[in-house]
């Protein structure tokens, strides 16, 4: 009773500020990544600024999260008020009118401060449909000490031949050091994110202009051969079940010589509290094919969006505005150190000298994000957009199925030719089921 009274009083005092406020509970669905977990630890600040809003968290592993929020929004279930979704979903969902456009986020919000390539992926018809919480591209992280020991120096733009050579020389299986760690766990956002980027750098593409799958092309063959060669000979055991998190743990415990993955990993591998190799990490652009200049950089952002069906849109907006604001960045800097702020979203962060000094990976991250070309990812002409994915609703299914096939090849149950043939067959099948070319 008394809490209700207090709520009522609180509401009265806020009416003066023009806010339609009563104690509201919003449910936020999020992924169990480090940056999101950090946010949950900083909720005191939000509660202080918005005493009238209670936040309930649903924290799930990426794949489970995606399944849960997609089921919910597609069936109009209305269980969540704020969703954590990727830049793959945003344009597709916005086109279905499932998301609330994020306008009037407050005077201090400064949406123009968002990095242009990131904001572009979240904007449909000039309206922003999700606010980026952090964004990433891909890059090469390597152990400077091991590379030195191998007698090599990292070129400015390493190519896959160099990577192979370095992986071979760094590998010392007796000491549990594996030259290279790459994603192997099946999933369109797991191994296929990496493999699609790598394929782009090799000049391959998913579909030709008539939406015909291209796994029978020599470029894909080169991609898969190189990948399998690297991973079978110089990769860690069990690679076919390694995703981002598994590789991060391997790299942090000093078991990887090189790792090509999301730029966001940099703040974890360089954090001496979490990483045993923090002092010996170097960064380079993700590799190109010999003589080529396409790095195949991917572009991924985790974003906060509000379902159009939410009953508590104002409270949800207040939360999204808080979590993706410049003040939030300052808050994380204060509590966790400036190197650990969520990267990749705001220009102002990369103009902050303090950040550039504290985060040795900042320049590489910014360069990678700005170099990501999601409009024409491959050297060849393609009918789709997207860096490490193909921006059509069917891609999740196809990407994951192809991911399973490639993961099986990595586990050794089939060879590269069989895997490519299987990928070609199943993609053709799914595309014809979906009615392409449209």
């Amino acid at each position: 009773m008394s809490s209700k009274l207090r709520g009522l009083l609180g509401a009265c005092s806020l009416v003066a500020l023009g806010a339609a406020a009563h104690a509201e509970t919003i449910t936020v669905a999020t992924v169990n990544n480090g940056d999101m977990i950090r946010m949950q630890g900083l909720m005191a600040d939000f509660n202080e600024k918005h005493p009238d809003i209670q936040v309930e968290w649903v924290t799930l592993e990426e794949n489970v999260l995606r399944q849960r929020v997609t089921t919910d929004i597609a069936t109009n279930g209305g269980q969540y008020d704020v969703l954590t979704i990727g830049n793959y979903e945003v344009p597709i969902w916005a086109a279905q009118n499932w998301l609330l456009p994020l306008e009037d986020m407050g005077a201090d919000y400064k949406p123009e401060d968002f990095l242009a390539p990131v904001a572009a992926g979240l904007t449909v018809d000039g309206k922003l449909y999700a606010a980026p919480f952090y964004a990433e591209s891909s890059m090469l992280m390597y152990r400077t000490d091991l590379l030195e020991k191998a007698g090599l120096t990292m070129p400015e733009n390493p190519d896959w031949d160099f990577i192979t050579e370095a992986a071979e020389k760094m590998t010392d299986k007796g000491a549990e050091i594996y030259g290279i760690c790459l994603r192997g766990k099946a999933g369109w956002g797991e191994n296929m994110a990496f493999l699609t980027s790598m394929a782009n750098s090799e000049g391959a593409r998913w579909f030709d202009a008539d939406w015909k799958p291209q796994f029978d092309s020599p470029e894909w063959k080169t991609t898969l051969d190189t990948y399998l060669n690297l991973m079978t000979n110089y990769g860690p055991p069990g690679a076919s079940s390694n995703g981002f998190n598994e590789n991060l743990a391997l790299f942090q415990t000093g078991k990887c010589g090189m790792w090509i993955d999301a730029t966001v990993a940099a703040s974890f591998v360089s954090n001496p509290n979490e990483s045993t190799v923090a002092e010996h990490v170097g960064y380079a652009p993700s590799p190109v094919r010999a003589g080529g200049d396409n790095h195949g950089n991917w572009l991924w952002s985790w974003n906060l969006a509000i379902p159009a069906s939410s009953q508590k849109q104002d409270a949800a907006k207040a939360f999204v505005a808080w979590a993706t604001s410049q003040e939030y960045t300052a808050l994380v800097a204060e509590h966790e150190g400036i190197a650990n702020v969520p990267p990749g979203t705001r220009t102002s962060l990369y103009e902050n000298q303090e950040y550039l000094t504290a985060a040795p990976f900042a320049a590489q991250t910014l360069a990678a994000i700005e170099a990501a070309d999601t409009q024409s990812p491959s050297d060849q002409e393609v009918p789709y957009t997207g860096g490490q994915f193909v921006s059509i609703p069917e891609f999740q299914a196809i990407g994951t199925a192809v991911g399973q096939v490639f993961s099986a090849a990595l586990a050794g149950t089939s060879d590269a030719d069989q895997a490519l043939a299987a990928a070609q067959a199943l993609t053709t099948r799914e595309m014809s089921r979906a009615g392409y070319p449209k």
């Binding site: 449910t27 169990n32 630890g41 649903v58 924290t59 209305g78 998190n245 974890f268």
Partner: protein
């Protein structure tokens, strides 16, 4: 047994049995130990068994991340609620199957069991839509309903096999004394059936506690039980073995303790009339 057992034989049997028992129990023990290690100790090579710096910091971290007690309480309500509801529906059904069997009784029983074989994933979308329309999404009521129906066949069957063991003559005697049906059930049958009901109750609480498909898919935050709590640890970033272990222990400890304390009752009912 009347045969004399030599001490030597007993010692050997003891040694073998203990070795096997500890091997079977080891994963739980190891999780327990790991939950008190630092993350670095958790993956140390060679593994540290007892001599490490015991710390409870993982438990604090886990509690800081998610409200354990809310999930715990939800688990209790959902598992106990669905079990009690199932018992209320199943007791009369099992009673009539056992004491007034018709020609179709066996068929009905078999049909009931066969509904349990329906793969839940196949009907998730219909159930989700029904729940959305009835406002049952993310409510404990909704989960109690689903889990009641999920476990009803097993409950009916367990009770049936148990009731069948009760000799019919006792009922005849009660009837001679003029007891009507209600009195017959309350005063004669129920006391005899209490052990069977107790073990059915226990087994179903365990099954409902551990159910991980519906509980994960039909809840968000308010009604989410411990299965959801553990799902957020399934592959977090960086080193997480110790935190995973702490969360695991928090999720399974209540039910293991309950199981241990009640294992005598549990075992008695678990036999499903299989033991004559």
């Amino acid at each position: 047994m009347a045969r004399t057992v030599t001490t030597q034989r007993k010692v050997i049997v003891t040694a073998i049995a203990w070795t096997i028992a500890i091997a079977i129990f080891f994963p739980i023990l190891w999780t327990f130990l790991t939950s008190f290690k630092t993350e670095a100790d958790a993956i140390a090579t060679p593994p540290k068994f007892l001599f490490f710096n015991w710390t409870t910091e993982n438990y604090t971290t886990v509690q800081g991340r998610s409200n354990y007690f809310l999930h715990f309480w939800n688990s209790v309500i959902i598992s106990v609620g669905s079990t009690v509801a199932a018992l209320i529906i199943a007791i009369p059904a099992a009673w009539s199957m056992a004491f007034v069997p018709g020609k179709r009784t066996k068929d009905i029983l078999m049909w009931m069991l066969s509904t349990k074989m329906m793969p839940a994933v196949g009907v998730l979308v219909p159930i989700y839509l029904l729940f959305r329309d009835t406002g049952l999404l993310d409510t404990r009521t909704g989960l109690v309903i689903v889990l009641t129906l999920m476990n009803l066949p097993i409950v009916v069957w367990m009770l049936y096999t148990y009731f069948k063991e009760i000799p019919g003559e006792i009922l005849e005697a009660a009837r001679m004394d003029g007891a009507n049906l209600t009195r017959e059930i309350i005063y004669v049958l129920t006391p005899m059936a209490v052990p069977g009901i107790a073990s059915t109750l226990l087994l179903n609480i365990i099954l409902a506690w551990n159910e991980a498909f519906w509980t994960l898919n039909l809840t968000a935050s308010k009604s989410a039980p411990l299965t959801q709590f553990i799902a957020s640890y399934s592959s977090p970033e960086g080193l997480f073995y110790a935190k995973l272990s702490a969360a695991s222990m928090m999720a399974i400890a209540p039910i293991i303790v309950l199981g241990w304390f009640s294992q005598k009752q549990l075992v008695r009912g678990l036999t499903f009339g299989a033991v004559k």
